[in-house]
Symmetry: D2
Subunit: 430 residues, 4 copies
């Protein structure tokens, strides 16, 4: 029986320390918003209802192809990972679900379900893995998986995805996310057209196995691990996939998977407009698929993405309910801290986007008043919404300051005592 | 009555100088190709049948927003431009058609037709211009054209496109190319979704006016002149347009209109696969939309694009007949020379792609032999096909060495005497 | 005798409308900062003493190579431009100096001085122009200026720069900024080494003409107007120049002149460390040298740049006094509004950087606590410092809301009545 | 006693098959070159004297952070690696030296020397590794090595580099290459200035330990494994290092370590001009540090780099003797094949650069004839120099077709029988 590592009492004690300042800041902000006709409590309620899934693989220290430097108390298996995810949810109240990666998280689904229930967690989208070879695997993915020239290899990859669906069914998941590393390192290595045809054929088989109330998310990525071409290289190809497969197929947007300078918020708008936005893998990046903490490098970009999401809500776009997931690699921080901070940043962008005066914005847009239109976004963006975020956490049982409370709890040390130390070394994995 | 500026006799005299070397090189190459079972004359015939359209605006010296430095004998109007295009075709035999830009090239269509006939030229795709304001224009395009918030401005832009179709009809053109500069310079300036809806509505009106046997080409571009967002920003959006409009709508690929590092040959493959490749605006670029001479910076990329085109031909893709056009800005060279050299580079890439052993390539691809697959492309690419190109020109009445022959002809000096000198200055235009 | 277009009384009246809200917000922020041991008035004082120069060319509507769309009341000459700059300073109190561009702003220096005095303006760095050809110019800059192969052309460019110094001397300027467009559009067009040697030789001549108390700023740029290579392409080359020339030579950083993904704040740190940071051309960019309004696309990047500047101040770096200038192109906004908003954004980044708890930051850095280190920056960044900025303006006679006050003043309409309308057209200039 | 795996007789037999074709192609090319006044045999001799070092780590299959897919017969240790390097040299005659990586290649230096001698190999630059943690390491490099905040960690990294020098001394190496992964993943994580000061201090200690006749190469890289900032991020910083350290310090250029769109050949020219070009890590890239085979993606760029090198030779630059090394990751090919092909591509670029008519080029440059200047480079580049490369190999005892000969030899199968199979898995290392 898993014990709950951080008690509600402890959180309450810690919260007591910051309560006065929070009340003062919340009240000052409330007054300011009221001047613009906005009700702070209504915003706080909306924020408290906004959730983002945590990736099971995110609670372990990540790495690069050069090295991996593990931290203390690295989770040994999915049950340890769920414990860590439980802490994140306990303190932030923003992450009630976990996204699993198979085969990394393979275990008895009923045990998983039981463990999650104790921790107050549910299961988000299932993730398949056909970008590395498992120990007992008949066919290698060295030269591709769902687009491989060999039928048996493709079949193996299809079956693995179907297995992920089966596991997810038991766990209560409602979506499968398919990201593949298939591509090429040399001009001419693969025939682009045949390769994509094989991929589409394989995906049709997976799609057929999808339960009626599930969604299928495909994720594009410009490059890595393939360095000359990637089968699902951009949103254009991703859209073609979703359109080819059918109504349950949607495109997933990972913020770090685009060409330099790409206007990502515009891609988000296009996918919403054509009914194919499945959701997000949130993170941040400066160079490539850096998998940095959400909002850590370009926070305004994250806001602009949420501006599109809130705009779509505002316009009442039919069937609009994107899935929110974090997908990051934590190489130099405590992964639990990074995930809590990231969940907070994502909620921050959402809260700021809620503050945009959309009536004024529309009027400025219709009047070609570019300066005031952009200033309308900026006014919302530069509002310090931390009091709203803290209050949303506090009201739902979370911590005013999740990182400080986590550090005070001594959780990392506790698990470090239970979990054996891991040696660093060459070659990381995320 | 326009005189032909360079006589066939003059070309023949010039050709005589290089004939011996050409014969020797052609014969050596023929022998080498024969060893691989290839017939050089068959290749030469195919090359001689490959054409690319010249843009009327390309024969004037281009510029940047900083300055324009005109050359000698700048064409004063479309008739001068046609004279220059005539010389390019005369010497290269690769550019029998000209692509017009309205209103820049507005003139009596029948006079245009007559002039072109004398010069042995035809008319390629018509280009509309709604990215700058004409002198007598009722509504400004400062804040957009086909996506403008104002109905009357959109209508004006639609009508201009329809006018281009009407002119093209008389001239014998069979396609309209629509490129717009619409976009925004600030986050929030435009609503991405509404703006694209307005664009699509406007395009539907233009599409309706399209004759049965015409094609409509839409061209995407990442940025410039808009610097935060562009309505038709990438091939994904371009595809959505072509799909929304109908069977006569196709996507045009300009090689300089993509994000850094983009795999353009893959986009070409995708558009072919989904039946929407309209054709190309050929040029080269290192940084942005540099509009440099085709193949001048990344010649292997140009080859890889042609590798996809020849592969599609080879596979017998139905309805595959992309339009080939040059779209360059010649800021530091004699535009006629650059256009001749570019036509040559484009044919070079085509010739090299024809040399790819596609049976061997398929076998290496199916065997996951990446090294030999890429080597198969490289073998074709590194073949010096200049003898084939020169011989194709020679056999069809063109020059063995177009630039040398052009210089020897004194054409530039002749027209410089006829056409008044143009002062340079701030602010260029392409 | 120039009349002052907006009276102090008018500003005071407008300010009265927003005063109550400002007082409330300022007080709430003061309280919050006091909790962290910071004195809001001390910050406000520092902000009020922070200035940024306005570029004379910035008050005219900019353009692209495709088109220019002028607005109402475009300034006809430098005296009109000074009027516009005067308004910007009047309302923001952040821009007491103007940076001139010769020959665009050529006029009797004494008249310029007199006019500026009336408007309460001074003169910042002088800018030379050897990237376009003047009307009466003996040698063309088509193929370069300070690096041109021809001695006479280089001499002409040197003399022009020396003339700029002479004009600046009369005006009270203390710096010359040299930016050239020299480079190439084709591999092989120029010899990189010889070209740079010629450039250095020419710069040595200019450097010799520099008064003792002047500084020489050289500005690097990756590309445009040259599209294959640029002589002063990056900060590495810029540093070599400053080092070669001597102690009065410094590097200027324009935020839009770098390769995609470049970490600009790090370049700023390096130049400070090696004593060669001259100053900035502030603006923002998403793709290339977009010349967008400062902080409009990546406000966090602007903050990170200021974080380096304030860190250097904090460390007491000797001889550290960078020049702050705006360099933007205003294509879709009223240039006066954009410049006021930009001056505000620049001060905002400065104010936020002043709020960074540098003792805490150092401790987190020394403890490898990446999460709390970055959170320390973020806490400062997400503080809404608008009350500080507004109060700094108000206390020095400026407007609480400069854009609203400007619009209420009717200035643009007034000058539109005096200044003839300008037709738009092809080919812009910035 | 190591047996030589491929006999000279075997190579001769294989060569016999291609000899007639080679002779014919060589003779045709010779004739063509003679027409331009060039002596093919002189070129062949120069090519035969051009060498590039092979990296010991390059003969093992590489990987990414996602996975590594080993091939057959993976080398178990440095002695196996040397065997593989021996084969590469045997067949190409272009790679007589090996570059070691410590601690990966740690072994008794005298045994190494003896083994190398048998194989006809020597030792090139030594490479230190402070970007991953060794098994028995006192201080972790998780937060940096030579720039670490902790003195003991820096000391450890310094000592490791000095140890590399000591090993290299015994082996006959004459250079140390220092590449570090130090940097940060978050704004604020490190202080750029202090971090670089610590790095420079540490490097001074290493520099002091450098034997008189050695060179020290520092290598810049934009990003990875650090994803927000990297201590030695670009050539500007690299130059500052070399300049700070002294005359034996030089900058190493890895072709994949730059920002998108960077003009690398220009950086090469600048470093030559300022006496600080140390040499190269050759490879190719399309997106980031892809470590693809040299010349496989942008062969013209490789040529343009060699154009600078040959130009410097031609100008007789004093003290100019750059080190040539390959640094690639072979994920989907047999590493031996990729290294042979890459050595060939590097020689190809060199041979093409030798064919440039530098007198004509200078004249075109001095005449601002951009078109003919670039055409002069292109003429050399498009010459198919394969006969020269093959003949250079043949004359020095190598294979006309190294890959075909290697495959025919059955070497890979032989070593696969000796060396145990390696399981693939998550997390690669290069």
């Amino acid at each position: 029986m898993p014990e709950i590592k951080i008690t509600a009492d402890f959180i309450a004690e810690e919260n007591a320390k910051g309560l006065a300042a929070l009340k003062s800041d919340y009240s000052a902000l409330g007054e300011k918003l009221a001047r613009s006709g906005m009700d702070i409590d209504a915003i706080t309620d909306k924020v408290a209802q906004f959730f983002v899934a945590v990736p099971s693989w995110g609670v372990g220290t990540g790495g690069t192809r050069f090295a991996r430097f593990p931290g203390q108390g690295e989770p040994r298996h999915i049950f340890d990972k769920l414990d860590d995810c439980g802490v994140i949810q306990q303190l932030t109240r923003a992450t009630p679900t976990v996204s699993l990666h198979i085969p990394w998280d393979k275990a008895d689904p009923n045990e998983l379900k039981a463990k999650a229930e104790v921790l107050g967690l549910g299961f988000d989208a299932m993730n398949s893995n056909t970008f590395s070879d498992g120990a007992d695997q008949a066919h290698s993915y060295k030269y591709g998986s769902l687009s491989h020239v060999d039928t048996a290899t493709r079949r193996q990859a299809i079956d693995h995805n179907i297995e992920c669906i089966e596991i997810g069914r038991v766990l209560g998941s409602k979506a499968l996310t398919v990201w593949i590393g298939d591509g090429s390192n040399f001009p001419g290595q693969v025939n682009f057209t045949k390769s994509f045809e094989r991929y589409l054929d394989a995906m049709r088989d997976i799609y057929k196995a999808l339960p009626e109330d599930w969604r299928l998310f495909t994720e594009h990525k410009m490059y890595e691990p393939a360095f000359y071409s990637t089968v699902v290289q951009d949103w254009g190809t991703n859209y073609l996939i979703a359109q080819t497969l059918g109504d349950k197929a949607y495109c997933l947007v990972d913020l770090g998977h685009h060409a330099p300078n790409t206007n990502i918020e515009m891609i988000v708008a296009r996918l919403i407009q054509f009914g194919k936005l499945g959701g997000f893998h949130f993170n941040d990046s400066k160079y490539g698929d850096d998998d940095l903490d959400a909002g850590s490098v370009e926070p305004y970009r994250l806001f602009l993405v949420f501006n599109e999401l809130v705009d779509a809500e505002h316009r009442g776009v039919e069937g609009f309910h994107p899935a929110h997931m974090i997908d990051q690699s934590h190489n130099v921080t405590d992964p639990i801290e990074s995930l809590m901070a990231s969940a907070n940043e994502i909620r921050r962008a959402y809260a700021q986007a809620l503050l945009v005066d959309r009536t004024a914005l529309s009027a400025f847009q219709d009047g070609n008043d570019a300066l005031m239109a952009t200033e309308t976004l900026k006014r919302a963006y530069r509002t310090d919404v931390e009091p709203i975020l803290a209050e949303a956490r506090r009201r739902t049982g979370g911590a005013i300051d999740p990182v400080a409370t986590y550090r005070a709890s001594g959780y990392r040390l506790k698990v470090a005592n239970e979990r054996p130390a891991v040696k660093g070394g060459s070659g990381g994995i995320v």
